[in-house]
């Protein structure tokens, strides 16, 4: 099946020309570099979305808009509800600090009504309506909201971006394939005479195709790996130097599966390029007798 990969030096000489000559390895390297970066971004977005989704899936907030004097009572009420865990009252100072981002020093004003906020996790099946009613009997206006309702649009955007990244990977792969088809046709034109001679002495289409297939496989592999290495260096720089990025993604990183996917990409691109080249060469050869 893979015998064509191990052709003799004499067979390699048939196509002549310098090894890694021509634009194909460069084009593939640029495509591989772009695909790796976009794929890494897409996977990081997916990881972030999953992380955020997991962290807010069962997270709720009990909010009293005008603040609550009896916050401890409210906390005890929430904590005593079966199925409710990780109850945590957000300190007023932290609330003011958060508000300061939008209001500036005015956020520290005693006249500013700061809502009271209690975060908690609720297992599926907890009667949140009943809990809200109990809270309202303690603090008027208390209401429970799901974190996922407020973070939903962000998650939606993250997932959309993830699909955009996937689409870009597909588009770049198609572009790389098109470049390979052009390269294969160019190589066929360049070696038309040799091919005619080989056909004339009884070479089959597969024998001719194997020569091109192997050459393009090597070009594509070299280009893909070069692009992947360059992309990996960029990703390492980003990962090590961009603290802001970490903050923005909430500490999301690429997992082992993500890294394996990224590592497989250059080889997938190489296989795609080889298959496309093989198909293009075989189709072109079929036009001759």
């Amino acid at each position: 099946m893979f015998a064509w990969l191990f052709v003799s030096p004499a067979e390699r000489r048939l196509l002549g020309g310098p090894r890694f000559g021509g634009p194909t390895p460069w084009v593939i390297a640029i495509m591989s570099f772009s695909i790796m970066l976009i794929a890494a971004s897409g996977l990081a977005l997916a990881s972030t979305a999953a992380l955020v989704s997991r962290s807010i899936e069962s997270r709720y907030a009990l909010e009293v808009p005008g603040g609550a004097n009896n916050l401890d009572t409210l906390v005890r009420t929430v904590r005593s509800t079966p199925g409710v865990t990780a109850v945590e009252a957000v300190p007023e100072s932290e609330m003011r600090k958060t508000l300061e981002r939008w209001l500036g020093p005015a956020a520290q004003s005693a006249e500013l009504p700061v809502p009271a906020l209690i975060d908690f996790d609720a297992a599926p099946g907890v009667n949140l309506s009943a809990l809200q009613q109990r809270a309202q009997s303690i603090a008027t206006g208390a209401r429970i909201s799901a974190h996922r309702a407020s973070v939903g649009p962000l998650l939606h955007s993250l997932r959309l971006l993830q699909w955009v990244a996937f689409g870009l990977v597909v588009l770049l792969s198609i572009a790389a394939s098109a470049a390979v088809v052009l390269a294969a046709r160019g190589a066929l034109d360049t070696h038309r005479f040799t091919i005619d001679v080989m056909h004339g002495i009884g070479a089959t289409d597969l024998q001719v195709t194997h020569l091109f297939q192997r050459k393009i496989l090597i070009d594509a592999l070299v280009g893909s790996l070069a692009g992947a290495v360059a992309a990996a260096l960029v990703l390492l720089l980003l990962a090590s130097g961009a603290a802001l990025a970490g903050e923005l993604t909430g500490g999301a990183t690429l997992g082992l599966v993500d890294l394996l996917v990224l590592a497989a990409l250059p080889f997938a691109l190489t296989l795609l390029a080889t298959w496309v080249a093989r198909t293009a060469v075989l189709r072109a050869l079929r036009k001759a007798l």
Partner: protein
């Protein structure tokens, strides 16, 4: 089966089985929408015979050779090679038949970036021979055509005559059953022409059917037992399709 004497007409002996390498039946050929360059060709090439193909320029000799070495399909009629009808055979079926045919092209058709050695070795490699299997026969063949010391030279550095000898060596290296040559001695001196014809004759004695297109009457008369196919305006001159012996006796023949 006992071989017939060279030069015997194909259909001479009624009842005697004739083994034909090539059979043309009402064959016509046109390129694109142009006029037919070959018309109503009906003949058979007997296995183990030696043929000269002659005729004026433009008579269709090269087109006929192209049909013989499967570089062209007829636009009408049927062609059988080695007993198989190949006029409409799928192209995938053709390579095994091409490997049984050696071709010497008028323009040599050597691969410029390959050495003389690699050019001669090409048919063997296409047939699946390993580098070890190729080495001996190719060296021997290059020595035979007087190019032993030019094995690593590339065609652009060879003279016309040397290129022609490489082309001939490539055509005969795998002992083809049918050898087709288009003006094979056009670029070599008389001595080398005699040696090359000697090679063709030797191969013919070993059973190879040889078809040589040439204008060289001296070559024809110097080859005893060879038959003549004469083309004019795309048709065989003899309307019955019978292939005749050379018009002149071979020089020096007793």
């Amino acid at each position: 089966m006992a071989r017939r004497a060279h030069g015997a007409p194909l259909d001479q002996a009624p009842g005697d089985e004739v083994v034909a390498v090539a059979e043309f039946d009402s064959v016509g050929l046109r390129y694109g929408t142009g006029a037919e360059v070959l018309r109503d060709l009906d003949f058979r090439l007997r296995s183990g015979s030696f043929y000269f193909l002659t005729g004026p320029s433009g008579a269709g000799k090269t087109s006929l050779l192209k049909l013989l070495y499967l570089a062209q399909r007829p636009t009408r009629g049927r062609i059988k090679l080695f007993g198989e009808e190949l006029s409409e055979a799928p192209r995938e079926a053709l390579p095994p038949f091409r490997r049984r045919i050696g071709v010497v092209f008028q323009d040599f058709r050597l691969v410029r970036h390959l050495s003389a050695f690699d050019n001669v070795a090409l048919p063997l490699r296409v047939a699946g021979a390993s580098d070890e299997e190729v080495e001996g026969p190719v060296r021997e063949m290059l020595a035979w055509v007087g190019l032993a010391d030019r094995a690593s030279a590339r065609p652009p550095t060879l003279s016309g005559g040397e290129q022609q000898r490489v082309a001939i060596a490539r055509a005969v290296i795998n002992r083809p059953e049918l050898l087709v040559a288009d003006e094979p001695t056009g670029n070599v001196d008389a001595d080398m022409a005699n040696r090359l014809m000697g090679l063709f004759t030797a191969m013919n004695r070993l059973g190879t059917t040889v078809v040589v297109a040439t204008h060289d009457v001296g070559l024809i008369t110097a080859t005893p037992g060879a038959q003549l196919i004469r083309l004019e305006n795309g048709t065989l001159v003899d309307p019955t399709g019978t292939l005749r012996n050379p018009p002149h006796p071979p020089r020096g023949a007793g």
